[in-house]
Amino acid sequence: MATGDLALGHEQSKHAGIDARTRVVNDFSIQVATVNGSGSQSANSVLLKSIFDMGVPVSGKNLFPSNIAGLPTWFTIRASKDGYVARRKRIDVLIAMNAETAREDILGLHPGSAAIYDEALNLRQYRDDVVCYPVPFDKITAAVCPEAKLRKLVRNMVYVGVAAHLLQIDMASVEAALHKQFAKKQKAMDLNMGAVRAGAEYAAEHLPKQDPFLIERMHATAGKIIIDGNSAAALGAVFAGVTVVAWYPITPSTSTIEATIDYLKKFRINAEGKATFAVVQAEDELAAIGMVLGAGWAGARSMTATSGPGISLMAEFSGLGYFAEIPGVIFDVQRTGPSTGMPTRTSQADLLSTAFLSHGDTKHVILLPGSVKECFEFGYAAFDLAERLQTPVFVLSDLDLGMNNWMSDPFDYPSKPLDRGKVLTAEDLNRLGGFARYADVDGDGIGYRTLPGTDHPKAAYFTRGSGHNSKAAYTEKPDEYVEVMERLTRKFKTAQTLVPAPVLERSTGAKIGVIAFGTSDFAVNEALDELKKQHKLDVDYLRVRAYPFNDAVHEFVASHQRIYVVEQNRDAQLASLLKLDLAADQAVKLRSILHYNGLPIDAESILSELAVKEGL
């Protein structure tokens, strides 16, 4: 299999036996190995949602290649009665549908795992310590799908049926999931349900249950939703009243914009059929952010979404946005770098480059969502912050959060009115007699601005990226330049008080603490639970949710002897950023646990490294 991390040692498994007597209920992982472009997405989604319908906490991860069709792809589903949703290294049930990777896929399994596969692959020859379920997929498919050209797709539903039967998922739950998938398409519904039934019937007749993995009904998913982070962020933007969207397609951010467009078309066409929004597919990311800033300057709530290479291209404009103080929201759904990197693999490696994106003394406000709910909340809050702080605000999500489906509590409606920031109207100007664009009237570092079109002869000011004084006039005078730069520092301090505060996820008065952000959260929580279980060790945990950091971060570091900073990049970027803020005697407390192979971080990796470093 192409992804080494997923393949566990085969050696250790040789002599282990299968123990079907120990039931493993609602706590295992399924991996579906298919060929990219074979249409397995719907089948995988149905399988995931049928477990969800059984009331069992579930998460899914699509591990796909940068390719349209033909290359191998894997979809993993984790059922976890304890609600763990991080990637799990160990695969318990394999559904091997890709002849090319099937041998490697089965060799990667632990002893005692189960494998469902096309009987022609004869995978039994490779493992005698894995429960094998050979299935004649073509034969079953042909019987239920007379139309030959649909068989490639319908074949996938047969494995859903086989798996559902073996794992004892109720057919009613599969049917409910299928209903959601095909909504009003009755013909597709019937055809696919027929395939599911045929698969289940085959399994009932020919495949006696020999593995221990079972789904049993729970009630842990009632009222929950399933959504991907990109759609959640899009919803946040739409409810924040975004009006101008400029973008350039790039994996893995594209679906953020596609979802935004879908929602805008649904909710923001007025009674006369006119749009209260504009979406532009720009010629590149430079143009996308230029449009965002032009629109933000002229009063619109504007956004773009991109990934690493796009962030690099946005550097110059980001500095202009910072220095000329123009609002705008930039979603960065991180993928691996450097350069093109692995476009369909996840990482948290844009943190440093985004924090200081652009030349000169530039720094940016960054929000760090750690769940789909926060994608929504921060997607919304970013617009308030951008206009309040008059600066570009970056929302750093990642491929794992953005493109995978996650279970979540439903999102709460943001009932507070939108914060449009300090904008002077013509009436204000009549009262004030004029204004200085970059004067710190309120002492918070944030000036007052006017929008183009304000009907007052003194409304206009000159926006520029060149040196300017408090009246927005060109300057090369040292004092005037320093005054502006120091006010920007004050503004960044104000930002500390406005951005989402860190969350103290665990506080037991322990000596050791963990700091993490974004998607590392799921694995950190699981790892710390295990640490407590296995080693009776308590570890505190602070999840940072934004840059600049606020005082709570300093206090957390100060009140612990050692801090492990867990993050998904090679260069310890969060730790580096923290060290810039911390006093020298505090900075030395930081140690790093890093994960950067393109796969989402898992609890086992954190746990083992922490245990070694703590000498456990």
């Binding site: 939703i225 399933i226 959504i227 919803l235 409810f239 009243g241 009006t243 101008v244 400029a246 929602y263 909710f267 923001r268 007025n270 006369e272 059929g273 006119k274 749009a275 209260t276 929004f277 504009a278 979406v279 532009v280 720009a282 010629e283 590149d284 430079l286 143009a287 996308a288 230029g290 449009m291 965002v292 800033l293 032009g294 629109a295 933000g296 300057w297 002229a298 009063g299 619109a300 110059e316 404009f317 202009l320 439903p410 999102f411 409606y413 009115p417 939108l418 006017t450 929008l451 183009p452 079109g453 007052h456 002869p457 409304a459 206009a460 000011y461 000159f462 926006t463 990226g465 060109y474």
Partner: protein, 351 residues
């Protein structure tokens, strides 16, 4: 309807325009460009055009990139918001600004380096979109602020002060703009007050991308013998393809014209642009022919000026986007923020 130059009665005061403003309300800061720079003359014509058209200064957004040309928005119309952006990227900023407020007039000033070198990517896409704005290239064939390197509009054989000869072909921004979809394209010369003023007034009346390439000699780095963008060269080689007559919507048409020698174009706001042919059979509504004429002129070493192409039918970018009438930027929250019920429905669909 008020006339362009209302005659004050009683005590003589400053001349005021149809919205009651004197020309001084259209002026800007003191120029910091070189004395004699063509750009200053263009700024003056912009002031005249906005004044004579009676444009409310607050209804204009000025945009520019980086370079000598891009400084010039500081030297006219102080009462309008202005955005001096980054090098070569004014089109994107203008696009965003126009989308945020499509009820305003956007006036962009760029240079030949800012447009035809670093800015080519954004320039061509703006032309393609037919974004409603006026885009002026103050074209002198050299980089001024970095002391006189050739730009991409410099002609083959043109000579720098240092004696360096340009051996790469120039980019014809007008031919390119026409081909890509701009709907009002012309070339003028900063020294031709009358032609430039008429062209700017017609530009104000147009809805869609107006692309004006204005040859604007650089007195410091490109006004010497051997330059093809010098005052002298332009005075000798400027070949107007048509003579412009512009009658704004608020003035009566009182002179007849000969349809055989003149093309009349009715602009979006009801103004009339009359283009008297100086070259036989030149039709400024024929896209293919206009590009052909420009290419032939290059072959013959001519510098054509005039309005090369007008299309008042093609929808602008904001038309295509089907926007509401009011600016997007100031739409009230009641319009832009969907209700709690909407969110509830979305949540239910995800359960």
């Amino acid at each position: 309807m008020a006339t362009a130059t209302a005659t004050p009665t009683g005590t003589p005061g400053p001349k005021i325009n149809r919205i009651g403003l004197p020309v001084i309300e259209y002026r800007g800061g003191k120029t910091t460009l070189c004395a004699g720079c063509g750009h200053n003359a263009i700024s003056e014509r912009v002031v005249d055009a906005l004044f004579e058209m009676g444009v409310q200064p607050e209804r204009v957004m000025k945009l520019s990139g980086i370079g000598c040309s891009s400084k010039s928005p500081a030297y006219f119309l102080s009462r309008a918001h202005s955005f001096n952006s980054v090098h070569g990227r004014m089109p994107s900023v203008a696009t965003g600004a126009v989308l945020a407020n499509h009820t305003m007039m956007a006036l962009g000033v760029s240079g030949d380096g800012d447009t035809a070198s670093i800015g080519m990517g954004q320039f061509v896409h703006m032309m393609r979109r037919n974004l409603p704005m006026i885009y002026i290239i103050e074209d002198n064939g050299v980089y001024g602020l970095t002391k006189g390197q050739f730009s991409a509009t410099a002609d083959i054989g043109s000579k720098l002060k240092t004696g360096v000869i340009n051996d790469l072909p120039p980019i014809d921004t007008c031919a390119m703009a026409i081909q890509l979809g701009a709907t009002f394209v012309g070339r003028s010369f900063s020294g031709d007050k009358k032609q430039l003023l008429s062209m700017l007034k017609a530009a104000i009346a147009h809805k869609g991308t107006v692309m004006l390439d204005v040859i604007s000699p650089c007195v410091t780095f490109n006004d010497h013998e051997g330059s093809t963008k010098s005052y002298k060269f332009m005075q000798e080689h400027d070949e107007p393809i048509n003579e412009l007559g512009f009658v704004p919507s608020f003035e009566e048409i009182d002179v007849e014209y000969d349809a055989g020698t003149t093309t009349e174009v009715t602009m979006h706001d009801g103004s009339h642009l009359r283009l008297r042919k100086l070259r036989e059979d030149y039709d400024p509504t024929d896209k293919v022919a206009s590009v052909r004429t420009l290419m032939e002129a290059h072959e013959n070493g001519e510098v054509l000026t005039g309005v090369f192409f007008v299309d008042t039918v093609k929808p602008s970018f904001t038309d295509l986007l089907n926007l509401v009438d009011q600016p997007l930027g100031t739409q009230p929250e009641s319009v832009t923020k969907p209700s709690a019920e909407v969110l509830q429905k979305v949540m239910a669909s995800l359960q």
